[in-house]
């Protein structure tokens, strides 16, 4: 082979190989990935928020639909979103709604109750949560924490559960009426109150083991609406609230309950007392809020949301109200001004 032929062959081989190599590059594979965010500046608006609690250190806890837990340690500026694992399976499978969260007075223990008998417990101040066996598949709408070992939960179809051992065992208590109970609260370690359908108010004197009817209970009259919420401002004074602005008030520690009315026929689902000003707050349908200052009549507060409110909590002059469609309202002046977190 002559030098010219060798040179020609080399050039041609180089050319062919380069072309082939470049063509092969055309078929290189591609791919993509997805990620999930954990820190948010507001609640997901497609989720419902059902329960809230503020720890003594100011940390805000909110529970909601699809096993949602939101926590904020900076007064609501940022929120850490978690999906609490309430059963085996992937994160997408944790879909039970969580309805209520309450801490013990010292903030060391807390319970969350929810849909289909779901109970979660934390004994480290809300850092970690474990599932507890409730023994029921009924919805549990509210929990009251008496101390780190003792709690009572109420829910659908007369469900009342109580524990004295930090939730290791939940025992069922008999409701005197087969009605759904929406709220439960305790005025001391032994005395408790529950509100439910047919404007019924139940009471217990033994820490939740036995319950009697304190008011209402006429389950034959379907025109009587329910009480969704009740609270005591002091051992003598309390208010229960329900459908269409219906209220019941007591001034004698629950011995007698008198009917009352809100200024408008609005269903209210949550009542809370702010410890600073001792004002009573009611929240309900369409984001309507009503306030009762000592010695005054009920007044409607300026409206900051149109979504139903479901729960409220106060710690000092800091308050939080939550509701449907990811609604979070915050106040840092005991309710003088509420601001929506968006």
């Amino acid at each position: 082979m002559t030098n010219l032929n060798k040179k020609r062959a080399t050039r041609q081989i180089t050319f062919v190989l380069s072309t082939c190599a470049l063509l092969l590059m055309v078929y290189a594979p591609c791919g993509h990935s997805a990620m999930e965010a954990q820190v948010r500046h507001a609640a997901p608006p497609w989720l419902s928020l059902f329960g809230t609690a503020v720890k003594p250190d100011g940390t805000i806890y909110i529970v909601g639909s699809k096993a949602l837990l939101l926590t904020s340690t900076d007064h609501g500026k940022t929120w850490i979103q978690q999906t609490l694992k309430e059963r085996p399976g992937s994160a997408l499978f944790q879909d039970r709604d969580l309805y209520s969260i309450r801490f013990s007075e010292d903030g060391s223990a807390a319970w969350i109750v929810g849909e289909e008998g779901t109970i979660l417990f934390s004994n480290d101040g809300g850092k970690t949560w474990t599932v507890q066996h409730s023994g029921t598949t009924k919805n549990l709408f509210k929990v009251a924490v008496i101390d780190p070992q003792t709690a009572v939960a109420v829910g659908a179809d007369g469900t009342i559960l109580h524990t004295n051992d930090g939730g290791a065992h939940w025992q069922s208590a008999k409701s005197p009426k087969l009605i759904t109970l929406f709220d439960v609260t305790f005025t001391d370690k032994k005395t408790g109150w529950a509100a439910g359908e047919f404007s019924t108010i139940l009471t217990t004197k033994d820490g939740g083991q036995t319950w009697t009817v304190a008011s209402g209970g006429n389950t034959g009259d379907f025109t009587i609406g329910p009480y969704f919420t009740l609270t005591f401002t002091d051992p003598l004074h309390a208010v229960a609230a329900g459908l269409a602005g219906e209220l019941a008030v007591t001034e004698d520690g629950g011995k007698t309950w008198k009917p009352a009315k809100l200024p408008d026929q609005v269903g209210t689902y949550v009542v809370a007392t702010d410890p600073e000003s001792k004002r009573l707050w009611l929240g309900g349908n369409g984001g309507r809020m009503f306030v009762l200052s000592p010695g005054h009549q009920w007044q409607e507060a300026p409206r900051t949301t149109f979504h139903d409110l479901t729960d409220m909590a106060f710690a000092g002059n800091q308050g939080v109200a939550v509701g449907l469609n990811g609604t979070i309202l915050l106040t840092r002046n005991a309710g003088d001004q509420w601001q929506a977190v968006q």
Partner: protein, 807 residues
């Protein structure tokens, strides 16, 4: 007479054609006459279904579940400049638009929705009763109290009507679906414009978006496009005249171009294909291709005429010389366009088949009919133009000197040639990298057919800011009620609710509408005193069935069918409303649904008989097109490259020749991706036919050049002299062709359609790259590498000896 060195057959085709010229010419003219009749049958209209691959699961799913509405949604948004929509004037306009949209041609009356529709309702509870009320039907509230009540209802039910009233209360939307078959886009477009004009005033702006408007604007611009078409043809003829009028038969390519156009359009009419006005640029490209071949043929004919001095001999020789490279070039074009028909997208199939017939018409007319025509016409006379002034001739001398320097570049060893060769290699690599990074589908929320500042895109952007626009359907098929796994089963409803929550994590999802979220959960809450904690899946199948019954009896006829198509309750539609239809959005949504099915549905034993089908609706259709397009484009390019390689190997009897032309082809086509990426142009249903046609555009430049060089070398000419001669003769013809084609394409750059503007620029880029590759790079390579198929080798030597003996 010299024989072609690039021949596919030993038959002397030129002699054969001229011997039977009367018969062949007569047959071709008869076919053309018949085609003229069918040209008159061509209809300019758009058929929506033709734009998507019929075999794709998404398209089949959409067609199977068509009862859930059409994919073509029209969205009319009214937006107030001051205040909000809650005033009598604006609310009345919403109602008026609702009524007028309901009168549009082809509208699905069950799918005209807004807050003024009787189908858009909310439920309300009072002690002892649960009622379902439309927001604003039948009347607009006249009193301030009534308007405030409406506002409160809207605010309280915001989650379920976010697609009709914007979050800031400044905009409201009226949406409508259409029956695709036989939709008259032109009429629809102008009637919608009437609605806009009727309701727009100082405080209320009207914006319209949706596929019907996107397609409708094509008709709006049609007169301008026809002017551009005529202007482009005029410019082509002018350049043709300017470059070729030294001969009296310069107009011959116009005749062949017209006849092949008649064949192509006649085929469109014969097959009953619809002609989308936006695609008007495609026949133009085909005509330009035809003209290109015609000019090349004329150039060679004149050369042969000068050489042989006999008209008939020149016609025969030119036919023999030009038919093989012409055939190769047109086959490359055909392979480029025919492959797009394999994607199963009807509109591409139509373009592919009609384009193939058109190109075969070009082959016949340019290479068979043209010699016959020229044989009947007199010898083209050489005309002499006025000589330029003496002062100008000095400039001419300088230009001629520069051209002389230019034609010697390939044969002059040194830095410039190396720079050209290595530069082209780098350009090729960059092109391939860009090709790998090419975008599929739409890359902007609006339509890339029109400019970003076009009214249609401004409207789409305005509506898109407030409302999710694109509709993707997830269909569940289940056992019938009262099976626990029917669509009313709590576990199924819960899963749908989970899917909604999960999809909302993606900000690209604007709304998810399902029976579970829109009906079942709110009704469950209302049924339980309105207590918010019951805004959840009903606890039992019985309760779920009761709520379904309540809704069925309390809502407007047909309302339930938006969610569940029959009374057996064994299928349901979940509508995922997306903020845009970009490739990333559509792919992400599909991947997210796939993950959900994998992790949430499949492992759940309570959903063992539930099947999840996705994705139908317009989003699914776009996704189907995207799936096909990327695959199609790369297979298409590969197929064209393979054809070019194969035919070059056969024609030049050399593998190296095959790779050389492959290099040239890759250089130009992947170079086009550089432009596309720089301009953000994606492969879409609209761009792919143009790009596919562009693949073969200009590949003939190199083929003609190399053939000429090889012919001259075989005729005994020295290597460098052959290259210089080829550059001076064929190179000039190639340049003339290039001028004619880009001259004709340039008017499209000024089209009101961004699509035309970008595609014409792309084609100019493609042809310029091909011209540089064919006229400079390939001769540089030939001079540098001196491949055997041109400059030596046994077969070459033998052929040369045979030729010498023959002469």
């Amino acid at each position: 007479m010299a024989s072609s060195s690039v021949k596919l057959t030993s038959v002397r085709i030129g002699d054969f054609v001229l011997r039977f010229r009367a018969i062949i010419g007569g047959v071709l003219l008869a076919i053309s006459a018949a085609a003229v009749y069918y040209c008159s049958q061509v209809t300019i209209r758009t058929n929506f279904d033709d734009f998507f691959p019929s075999y794709h699961p998404n398209v089949q799913l959409y067609e199977k579940w068509h009862r859930y509405g059409g994919a073509q949604t029209l969205s009319v948004m009214i937006q107030v400049k001051h205040g909000d929509i809650f005033n009598y004037d604006t609310l009345s306009k919403i109602q008026g638009i609702q009524r007028d949209v309901d009168k549009l041609p082809g509208v699905d009356h069950n799918e005209v929705l807004s807050i003024a529709s009787y189908r858009v309702s909310f439920s309300e509870t009072t002690p002892g009763s649960l009622t379902i009320k439309p927001f604003m039907f039948p009347e607009v509230p006249k009193t301030q109290a009534g308007i405030e009540a409406l506002r409160n209802h809207v605010m309280a039910n915001r989650a379920n009507i976010s697609q009709y009233v914007s979050a800031d209360n400044k905009s409201a939307l009226v949406t409508a679906s259409f029956n695709e078959r036989g939709l008259d886009y032109r009429r629809l477009f102008y009637q919608v414009r009437d609605i806009v004009n009727r309701y727009q005033d100082a405080n209320n702006d009207i914006f319209v978006s949706g596929e019907p408007m996107v397609r409708g604007y094509g008709y709006y611009y049609t007169p301008v496009l026809i002017v551009l078409f005529v202007a482009a043809l005029g410019v082509m003829v002018l350049i043709l005249w300017a470059t070729g009028s030294q001969r009296s038969r310069w107009w011959a390519p116009i005749v062949t171009g017209t006849l092949s156009a008649i064949w192509g359009l006649g085929f469109v009419g014969l097959m009953g294909y619809d002609f989308d006005p936006v695609m008007l640029v495609i026949p133009f490209i085909l005509t330009a291709r035809d003209m290109s071949h015609g000019i090349q043929w004329q150039g060679r004919y004149h050369d042969e005429l000068d050489r042989l001095g006999d008209k008939m001999a020149a016609c025969a020789a030119t036919t023999d010389f030009m038919l093989p490279p012409g055939l190769l070039s047109i086959l490359a074009d055909v392979s480029g366009i025919i492959f797009i028909s394999f994607g199963g997208i009807p509109v591409l199939q139509h373009i592919a088949l009609a384009g193939t017939v058109w190109l075969l018409g070009s082959l016949t007319m340019v290479f068979i009919f043209q010699p016959i025509l020229m044989s009947y016409l007199g010898v083209p006379e050489l005309r002499h133009r006025k000589t330029r002034a003496r002062s100008q001739s000095q400039w001419m001398e300088r230009i001629i000197g520069a051209l002389d320097w230019f034609v010697h570049i390939p044969t002059r060893p040194g830095a410039l040639r190396k720079v050209l060769l290595w530069g082209s290699a780098i350009f090729l690599i960059y092109g391939i990298v860009s090709g790998l990074d090419s975008k599929i589908g739409y890359s902007t929320p609006g339509t890339p057919l029109y400019k970003p500042n076009a009214k249609v895109n401004l409207d789409i952007a305005a509506v898109g800011k407030k409302f999710p626009l694109e509709d993707g359907w997830v269909i569940l098929t289940t056992p019938s009620y009262p099976d626990q796994q029917s669509v009313l089963g709590p576990n199924v409803l819960r899963m749908v609710s989970d899917m909604r929550s999960y999809l909302f994590n993606d900000p690209k999802v604007g709304q998810v509408v399902s029976f579970a979220s829109t009906v079942s959960e709110p009704f469950n809450q209302m049924f339980h005193y309105g207590y918010p904690k019951y805004l959840a899946t009903p606890e039992s199948l019985e309760m779920s069935g009761n709520l379904w019954f309540l809704f069925l009896n309390g809502s407007a006829p047909g309302e339930l069918e938006r969610f569940i198509s029959n009374r057996s309750n064994n299928d349901t539609c979940i509508r995922v409303l997306l903020r845009d239809h970009t490739y990333g959005t559509l792919n992400d949504i599909r991947a997210e649904i796939a993950r959900f099915v994998r992790e949430r549905v499949t492992p759940d034993p309570n959903l063992s008989h539930v099947q999840v089908h996705y994705l139908a609706g317009i989003a699914g259709l776009y996704l189907a097109a995207n799936d096909v397009l990327k695959q199609l484009d790369f297979l298409n390019i590969s197929f064209v490259l393979a054809v070019v390689w194969l035919f070059c190997v056969i024609s030049f009897r050399s593998f190296v020749a095959g790779f050389m032309f492959l290099f040239s082809c890759v250089l130009a086509n992947f170079g086009a991706f550089i432009y596309m990426n720089a301009r953000g142009i994606g492969l879409t249903i609209d761009t792919i036919p143009v790009i596919s046609l562009g693949i073969g555009l200009g590949v003939d430049y190199g083929i003609y050049m190399v053939s000429r060089i090889r012919d001259e070398v075989m005729g005994g000419m020295e290597v460098d002299d052959a290259i210089v001669l080829a550059l001076k003769s064929t190179g000039v013809a190639v340049f003339n062709t290039f001028l004619v084609m880009i001259g004709g394409i340039i008017p499209w750059v000024f089209s009101p359609l961004l699509f035309h503007s970008e595609m014409s620029t792309l084609l100019i880029f493609l042809m310029a790259t091909n011209m540089v590759a064919g006229v400079i790079i390939l001769p540089c390579y030939l001079s540098w590498a001196r491949p055997k198929f041109v400059f030596g080798g046994k077969s070459m030597i033998r052929e040369r000896e045979l030729r010498a003996a023959a002469s």
